[in-house]
């Protein structure tokens, strides 16, 4: 889910890095090539460049639960919080997959992603990762859609269009398992389809009976005749979590700037969510601005919010993170990832990429903790101490 599907001509919200290189280019080719080589080496070795004021970059991609990051930067709320803690925070839009790549390569300091990707991308690649904000869970955004009243029991032998090895496949296999069809999963043929084309590919090919995808693509597909949803993520509530994750080493920076960053972004996040959650038309203005992040209309964005369980208050997110449900979910997710080789071919045991919860409990080998849930900052927000 969650991969943006439209090209969005979004103005860069902060100073684009390209602007600096224009001035460099005027100083002659020699300098320019030296600079670009230095840059290339710098990128490869990923040496962080420290400015006087610590700067942080947050990567996000278009998705109902992440669009608030766009508004946060645009409205100046983020700047206010960053100034309070004496740091700079840049917000940058990515396509989903590149945002994950940038995070794993440590080119950005925080990234919006799902619990599954946090486990199988950075954590499995050895980047110790901490989730500091639990933003929402998919409560119907992801769906299994069929033609001609097909049922899950009829799936074996059919072709299923989806983006393989993502939450779409997770959702589909959970649907089969919940309906006692776990043994039949192997007889289903997956057709790996890029999310940018999946809606049109499904709609124009009557021969393909099943598709698994996410909103707003789901809404587009459902406008066609003779298709219906047989399973959606509201039937597995809380299993597809949308998080903001930060490398643990950033949080643990000796100068404490990482802590400031986490506090500032959490403070800004809950300020935006508070504006969003005002009942009635009072929030229309804010939601319209947020919807602009994905070039959606207010109505369309409201429709997407209806199937997203936002944790509007920090306390509700803390409760979720501290519940036993999260442990059960993460166990399901890590087993799914392991079975499908998403933790890496070398990973011989599911316990090799361990997950730690706010109460200190660990799934997997304690010396191999790679993914942590932290409620520290959300807790501070709940207590009004940010």
């Amino acid at each position: 889910m969650l991969l943006p599907q439209l090209n969005i001509s979004l103005d860069d919200l902060t100073l684009p890095s390209g602007r600096g290189s224009v001035t460099l280019a005027k100083r002659g080719t020699c300098f320019r090539s030296a600079a670009s080589i230095a840059l290339a080496i710098g990128l490869m070795a990923s040496t962080p460049v420290r400015a006087a004021t610590p700067s942080f970059t947050v990567g996000w991609s278009v998705y109902v639960g992440w669009n608030p990051y766009y508004y946060m930067a645009k409205s100046g709320i983020l700047r206010k919080w960053a100034a309070k803690y004496g740091i700079n925070i840049r917000v940058q839009r990515f396509d989903y997959a590149p945002s994950l790549d940038a995070f794993v390569a440590k080119n950005i300091d925080a990234c919006a992603m799902t619990n599954m990707e946090a486990l199988d991308m950075p954590a499995a690649a050895g980047v110790d990762t901490t989730a500091i904000i639990i933003g929402d869970y998919s409560n119907g955004n992801d769906a299994v859609i069929v033609r001609q009243n097909l049922t899950l029991a009829q799936m074996p032998g059919k072709q299923v269009m989806l983006v393989e090895k993502t939450v779409s496949q997770y959702l589909f296999e959970r649907a089969m398992a919940i309906n006692g069809l776990e043994q039949q999963i192997k007889q289903v043929h997956y057709l790996n389809t890029s999310d940018s084309d999946i809606a049109s590919a499904f709609l124009t090919n009557q021969s393909k009976p099943v598709v698994v995808t996410w909103k707003p693509l789901v809404s587009q597909i459902l406008k066609a005749k003779d298709v219906k949803v047989v399973f959606n993520s509201s039937q597995i509530p809380g299993e597809i979590l949308d998080l903001l994750v930060v490398p643990s080493e950033v949080l643990n920076r000796a100068d404490g700037s990482g802590q400031k960053f986490a506090k500032a972004i959490t403070g800004a996040w809950y300020e935006v969510l508070k504006l969003m959650s005002v009942p009635g038309p009072a929030s229309d203005k804010v939601l319209t601005d947020i919807a602009q992040a994905s070039q959606d209309s207010l109505a369309s964005y409201r429709e997407q919010l209806a199937t997203t369980h936002m944790f509007y208050t920090p306390q509700s997110a803390v409760d979720m993170a501290s519940s036993a449900d999260v442990k059960r979910t993460m166990d399901l997710v890590r087993r799914f990832c392991f079975q499908h080789g998403l933790l890496g071919e070398k990973t011989k045991s599911v316990d090799h990429v361990a997950v730690q919860f706010p109460d200190g409990a660990v799934l997997g080998r304690p010396e191999r903790i790679r993914f942590r849930f932290s409620t520290a900052y959300m807790q501070l927000a709940a207590q009004g101490k940010l």
Partner: protein, 284 residues
């Protein structure tokens, strides 16, 4: 500074050293950066080390592609294991699409030839093909899906639509460049329209056309990869797209090198064949 002049004559060793030096620089930079990253994070997957890539490649080349075949494969010979491997099945799937598409380029050559030789055919096709050549096929995917489905046909059609106009126009221009005098001479010696087309003009341009097809193989490959990344169940690009989901760079990099090697071999073979068939053809 005479060694930097146009008439410099570097020796055999110098040429050999110079031609490999950029490879060496690339490799050294890569492995230096990879080692740095691994020192920081032993589980790094973004820049795999040689050992990781060797393991990734041998897994891809020697382990069976599908889980069901595990029993069948273990214990058999290296060649037999290679033939059930992920790498081989992917190569076969992509190779089949590649060959069909390249085969479909040959009718394009005939069309280009006739367009240049017969003014009426030229008038009929030329303007449309000039227009069609500028269409970015990838942006019309939804229409391609309606017309050709999302299975094999649409992938091959994507390549055909992307590459044939270039080949047609190239053949057209090559045909036009054959001196008019030869055609007139052919007529005075009693040749028919078709014997002039095929036995005088076509014979001369054929090696150049082969060359043009050879130079367009990269475009064929590009469209093939685009097609496989959009929707597929097998193929080299399908595997790369899947591996990207969990940063399997230890397999992706060897895969990319493998594709480069295959492409190089096809290119090399076509070049050699062209020179063998047409020893009088000196251009490269």
């Amino acid at each position: 500074m005479s060694f930097l002049r146009i008439h410099a004559q570097p020796g055999r060793t110098a040429i050999w050293t110079l031609s490999w030096s950029l490879f060496a620089v690339g490799l050294i930079l890569y492995f230096y950066a990879a080692q740095q990253r691994h020192r920081e994070n032993p589980d790094d997957r973004v820049m795999p080390t040689i050992a990781q890539m060797v393991r990734g490649f041998s897994d891809a080349a020697l382990k069976p592609a599908a889980e069901e075949e595990v029993q069948a494969a273990s214990g058999s010979s290296l060649l037999a294991r290679f033939r059930t491997s992920m790498l081989w099945t992917d190569t076969l799937a992509s190779g089949r699409r590649f060959l069909i598409s390249v085969a479909l380029l040959f009718p394009a050559v005939l069309l280009g030839l006739h367009m240049a030789m017969f003014p009426v055919i030229g008038a009929f096709f030329l303007r449309f093909i000039l227009f069609f050549d500028k269409i970015v096929a990838l942006s019309l995917l939804p229409i391609l899906f309606i017309a050709f489905g999302i299975d094999e046909l649409s992938k091959i059609m994507l390549i055909v639509i992307g590459v044939t106009p270039t080949i047609i126009l190239d053949t057209f221009n090559l045909t036009k460049s054959v001196p008019r005098e030869q055609i007139v001479k052919g007529f005075t010696l009693g040749a028919s329209d078709f014997s002039i087309t095929y036995r005088i003009v076509f014979k001369q341009i054929w090696p150049r056309v082969l060359n043009s097809i050879r130079l367009n193989l990269k475009a064929v490959m590009l469209f093939l990869f685009a097609g496989e990344m959009i929707a597929s169940t097998d193929g080299l690009a399908y595997r790369i797209a899947l591996l990207r989901r969990h940063m399997g760079m230890d397999t992706i990099i060897p895969y990319v090198l493998w594709v480069a090697l295959l492409l190089f071999l096809v290119d090399f073979a076509m070049n050699k064949l062209n020179h063998k068939l047409h020893p009088w053809f000196q251009e490269r």
